[in-house]
Amino acid sequence: MIPVELSKLLRSRRTWMTIAMIDALPALVAVLLAVTDLGPRPGTGPAFLSAVLTDGTLYPLAALAIVLPLFLPIAVALTAGEAVAGEAQQGTLRYLLVRPVGRVRLLVAKLVASMVFVVLAVLVVAATAYVLGVLLLGDESITVTGPTTSVSGTALSTPELVARTGLAFGYAILCMLGVACVALFLSTVVRTPAAAAFGTLGLLVGSTVLLTLDAAQVLHPYLPTRYWIAFVDLFRDPILWRDIVRGTLLQLAYVVVFLGAAWASFATKDVSD
């Protein structure tokens, strides 16, 4: 079941178009930064965007900070939201279930395909950003093998930078796994993929709005977007694990609850489409 879903994903032109669109924004930003040499004023703009004018090897992180709050979750919500509702809308769901395939296995296969999409998108963004960062940004006197400067002002060796960058991208993928599970659950409930995607985005927008309100502080630790940007803490010295750990546990809780809800919903659902 999983190979079938992966094959469908990788052969779909829409998959690669979406990834290209996600990748386009950080690529455009890199070109603009290189041409104008104008970074955001301190305290404004995505993380690491001012630092990349000095050190282009940090651009994958800046690119992650650009796509993580909006572009990536939209793409994940659209992809995972289509998992079940898309098949139902096309009238192919009942044919899928005619095969001797358990519904849980189908759900898992759909989720795996969504996550492979996220991993692909993140890898393409990281690779593009690294190449553009090294070629277009940074001080020419700085080599890609030289130590970089952590957020705390200490030296980070290249192996440390690579390891922490890997952790940051892994953390971002985990955050998107939570989004995918919400969209997958909604996909088992509604009849159209758009409704599932908009429902997921509604939750994320609501979470982002509530995070700005002091009155909603009691809810903050439970909001799905609360710890998304915590990957910046991996580049402090020493690493500040508090929000990374909390963000990981929170995303795992979202995975457990919404995957469980998708299972409860889909396993007993009457399928006529």
């Binding site: 301190p42 050190d55 130590p147 200490t154 940007i229 910046v232 500040l240």
Partner: protein
């Protein structure tokens, strides 16, 4: 084939129970009861005072509602007192410490290395080395709970103290204490603090202005380790590409203190000059009833005066402008050109008198 519909309620019940446990579990863990301690208020205060040499590390969150006038020279102070901030600190002793203000996209670090002060700004990729004078503007290290609690208890007698119920702060048992300012001049109604039962280090401090039910400023540990931090953790900024600058003056107060050819009076509104006073900037009173006077040149005073006049409720006269921002009262003398900036925890009425006395009492000492 779908499973029988009769199994659906059971499946949803399992999901609901798991979700409830995931939500309630952390709440229940945090709400576990605290063992009562029979220490008196005076004993708790003494433990806090005695913790001055304690070492520790931790993560602090502050929340302030003190909206200072938006003058460039005070921008960091305005953020510190008027916004929500996260501070990560390592404290060996008063001479060796590190406090990082964590920003969503960077970090402002302060490191005291035994001799001088190094401030680090990630987004500007710049480190600044300066001396660390006693007379200066408040900074991140001053709003850490241990530092603020010790300042609050300065000059406070046992009669001004009251025991509060104990609480759990940053996972540690903390003894509660209410401090009421001993002087009627203070604009602070009371300060509540909670100190670690084992070490006496203050873990949470809440400052209440006169007539306010909610705290105007709160600072509290969310993580606290009573152990001594390693030398490496309080070590210097070592990034190879860091631009290092050397500043002769730490901030606007230090610059005025060093270079303004003036001397402050010996007391203001009955508050004696503090020992820290060693130049043109005057420090008067102590603890919860303290004010400072800073001589400003025209180019610094005029924009600040404009901002202060725009504060709701500001009292503007030809002699001075006085405004209260929560329990913090700020005044600037004159109506144009240079003037004396006064700020402190005193009532607006006392601040008005202090401003008049300061104008009359400052002495010109010749060019510096």
């Amino acid at each position: 084939m779908p499973e029988p519909r009769s199994t659906a309620p059971r499946r949803w019940a399992v999901v609901a129970v798991v979700a409830a446990l995931l939500v309630a579990g952390p709440l229940a863990w945090r709400a576990r009861p605290v063992a009562a301690d029979d220490a008196t208020a005076a004993v708790v205060a003494e433990r806090v005072r005695a913790s001055a040499d304690a070492s520790w590390s931790g993560l602090v969150e502050t929340s302030g509602a003190l909206q200072l006038p938006a003058a460039d020279e005070l921008s960091d102070l305005g953020r510190l007192l008027g916004e929500r901030t996260r501070l990560r600190a390592w404290w060996q002793d008063d001479r060796r410490w590190r406090v990082d203000e964590l920003l969503p996209a960077g970090e402002h670090g302060l490191r005291r290395d035994g001799v001088g002060l190094v401030s680090w700004d990630f987004e500007r990729d710049r480190a600044t080395v300066s001396r660390d004078p006693d007379v200066r503007l408040p900074r991140s290290s001053d709003v850490l709970p241990p530092a603020l609690a010790r300042r609050v208890l300065d000059g406070v007698g046992d009669d001004d103290l009251e025991r509060l119920s104990d609480e759990r702060v940053a996972g540690r048992t903390a003894l509660g204490l209410r401090v009421r300012p001993p002087s009627p001049l203070s604009s602070i109604d009371h300060v509540d603090l909670w100190a670690d039962r084992e070490t006496g280090v203050a873990l949470r401090v809440e400052v209440y202005a006169d007539g306010q039910a909610a705290p105007s400023f709160t600072t509290a540990f969310v993580e606290h380790d009573p152990g001594r931090p390693d030398d490496a953790e309080v070590g210097p900024v070592t990034g190879q590409r860091v631009d290092v600058e050397y500043d002769e003056a730490l901030d606007i107060a230090d610059a005025a203190n060093q270079y303004a050819p003036l001397r402050p009076p010996g007391s203001l509104v009955g508050l004696p000059q503090a020992e820290a006073t060693d130049g043109a900037v005057g420090v008067f009173g102590a603890g919860t009833t303290q004010l400072v006077t800073i001589p400003l040149r025209g180019r610094e005073a005029e924009p600040f005066r404009e901002q202060l006049q725009a504060v709701p409720g500001a009292a503007v006269t030809a002699e001075r402008t006085v405004a209260a921002v929560g329990p913090l009262t700020v005044a600037i003398t004159g109506s144009d050109d240079g003037g004396l900036l006064l700020a402190g925890w005193v009532t607006p009425e006392a601040m008005g008198r202090a401003a008049a006395e300061a104008v009359a009492g400052y002495e010109y000492t010749g060019d510096r």
